[in-house]
Amino acid sequence: MAGKIDTVVICAAGLGSRLGLDMPKCLVEIGGHPLIYYLLNVLYDVPNIRMVVGFKEDLVMECVRKIRKDVVFVRNPAYTSTTNSYSLYLGSHDLQVPFLNIDGDMYISRENYEKFVDKVKLDEDLIGVTLSYTEDAVNVLLDSENRAIGFSREKISNYEWTGIAYLANIKIRKEGLYVYQELEPYLPIQSQEISCFEIDTPQDLEYLSNKIGHL
């Protein structure tokens, strides 16, 4: 069923300064491979992949091309003064088809990816949520049918948004500040619980290194 995703937009333009390494987060080596290697492998059956690049774009493009030649790179030269929402706008504004949005510093297993994709209906928006684990998360309030009915930086629920979203109707605006704020006008949005992991801090990196090392 995973083959129903036609296009994925991966945002990987940012500095990732909280991790404290002088390289884009998607290039950080874990288990002998750059992080992006695992994501591109999970997305092996997606025909169209776009990647928004900014910080050290030449290194990112060189690395990604070795893994997959047909990725289309979208440049965000203003990556230091713009947010992820702007990168997502750049990567998606011309798309005429629904697409999956995922961050370049995300680690997700194929099993969890399929769990999300199985829930995708082609003309409906869907977001991936996970049990809260980070401090500055975007928390998601869910109703009894697992539809997201509110986002907040406050601890309003036990779930947080993973940054993963299937956008069928939602259009990201150029002037948006945060992606979750771009989703808010479209609430309620169906959600699917998945397990995945984002690398923001040195602790995240250590945790994932141990995890992948044991796989």
């Binding site: 030449d58 030649k69 047909d70 289309v72 790179f73 440049r75 011309d94 798309l95």
Partner: protein, 208 residues
């Protein structure tokens, strides 16, 4: 809105550089390939290098050159895109009209901007004019609202600078870094590029 697509020819629409192939007739393949490479990198200006390359190749009769050019490998997905949208597609090449006219007509069927040759019979006498690629964008400006340009070399920079959307395409070579720095998209696969072009066409074609 009306959307135009401008394509570099050598190494963008074609899967090999054309001049080195022509040079095989005078046993100068390696020399011309080297000159082509350093020109792409911007180590010598296009016009100086082109004059030199044409001078080295000018002894080859034009029909022989045409015959070689006609056997150049083309990128199929991009060829299909151009053929399907030929009214709004333009090839913008520094190459000579007398060498590529027949090839472009047969493989693409679209209009083109090129450098111009001075000929006598079947003999190439001199270069009459070397194309500065931004001239193509200026010429199309009054007819089109959005101009999308695709290229890989240093001489594509003025074209991408003047266009509304620029795509650096590394089908044969890594695009020169100056071009990447002014591009909106960077792409290394012909099929992926064709999908991107179709998406941009749909999006901007629908806008008022």
């Amino acid at each position: 809105m009306r959307v135009a697509f401008c394509f570099d020819l050598d190494g963008t629409l074609t899967e090999e550089e054309i001049l080195p192939q022509i040079a095989k007739h005078v046993d100068l393949y390696e020399e011309i390939e080297l000159l082509t490479k350093i020109t792409m990198r911007g180590l010598i200006t296009f016009s100086k290098s082109f004059k030199l390359r044409v001078r080295l190749l000018s002894t080859i009769p034009i029909p022989t050159v045409k015959h070689t050019v006609n056997s150049i490998l083309v990128n199929k997905p991009l060829q299909e895109f151009v053929q399907k949208n030929k009214a709004d597609c333009f090839i913008v090449t520094g190459n000579l009209d007398v060498w590529v006219d027949e090839f472009i007509g047969r493989e693409y069927g679209c209009a083109y901007f090129s450098s111009r040759a001075k000929v006598e019979g079947e003999k190439l006498i001199d270069i009459e004019k070397i194309l500065d690629k931004q001239e193509a964008i200026h010429a199309l400006r009054s007819t089109y609202d959005i101009i999308i340009a695709v290229g890989d070399g240093m001489n594509d920079c003025t074209m991408l600078e003047q266009a509304d959307i620029g795509i650096a395409y590394g089908g044969v070579h890594e695009p020169v870094s100056t071009l990447i720095n002014i591009a909106d998209y960077v792409c290394y696969d012909g099929q992926a590029l064709a999908v991107l072009l179709e998406s941009l066409k749909q999006k901007h074609g629908r806008e008022n």
